[in-house]
Amino acid sequence: MLRHSDLVKLVRVVAETCETEIGCDECFERLDSFAEAELSGVEASTAMPLVGDHLHKCEDCRSKFEALLTALRGT
């Protein structure tokens, strides 16, 4: 089932795995604060490391975050 080409992909996500991670619901709950922090020039991932970590790992949430940043910059 696992192929040679899967190895680096899988090992990379394993390497980045933390014991404590927040889920998508908690990330979404805090996404507006995180986006405002980011736009105000604060390093949002330092202020909210678990949200930053989740956004790094979850493409679904990251795409919403990036869309929100673009929307906020454009309005």
Binding site: S5, L7, L10, D25, E59, T70
Partner: protein, 204 residues
């Protein structure tokens, strides 16, 4: 648009004459969606007003869940982005079933090993793959295995995999987190540091 504090937004939207606030909010959502989805392609621009309308319904139905930790308009735009991107992902993946995804993998399974690797890298690759295969095949649950393949290896959005597996995005993320933690512990117990493995393949 009239400037409003968070409290003014809530008072107006909950009041007996919310029309002006609704119009202003709708206009803001449309502008935000246009900016965010610009360049998305596929005629998405035509859907912006539908997304804004659907978001407006969700926002007004859930005013009680706004906790005031950001500007009200940021919170509202977050909901609009969620509505739009969830729907766009659903459309993009609607013709792909998990069964198709797994069948395609199986058909491509007789793949030759990477011939660019040094003998040392090849030996390490075989050792790591052997351990990962053992854990994936014997220690992960069927659902964890399916999620690992679909989300991590095949890159299907977690929300779309969740729908097909009869669960939700949050629960599937947690299921994958459990699977990743198990793989990490087993690799470490077998003396295989994930960082060292990546470094050996120049991916660290």
């Amino acid at each position: 648009m009239k400037e409003r504090t968070n409290e003014q937004w809530l008072i107006e939207l909950r009041g007996s004459n919310p029309d002006e606030a609704l119009v202003d909010l709708y206009d803001l959502l449309v502008r935000g969606l246009r900016a965010a989805l610009d360049g998305y392609g596929g005629g998405v621009d035509a859907n912006v007003e539908d997304f804004a309308q659907e978001a407006l319904i969700k926002i007004t139905a859930n005013l009680g869940s706004f906790r005031g930790e950001s500007r009200f308009t940021t919170w509202a735009q977050k909901i609009a982005m969620n509505v739009a991107l969830t729907e766009l992902k659903r459309r993009r993946w609607r013709d792909v079933s998990l069964q198709d995804l797994f069948a395609r993998r199986e058909a491509a399974d007789r793949e030759a090993a990477d011939t660019q690797l040094t003998p040392e890298q090849l030996a390490l690759q075989n050792t790591v793959l052997g351990e990962l295969r053992r854990v994936v095949d014997q220690e992960l649950t069927n659902r964890q295995r399916e999620a690992v393949v679909a989300v991590i290896l095949e890159g299907m959005p977690i929300s779309e995999v969740a729908t097909r597996m009869g669960t939700n995005q949050n629960a599937l993320y947690k299921l994958l987190h459990d699977a990743r933690r198990k793989l990490k512990r087993r690799m470490e117990a077998a003396g295989l540091s994930p960082q060292e493995v990546l470094a050996a393949f120049d991916e660290g």
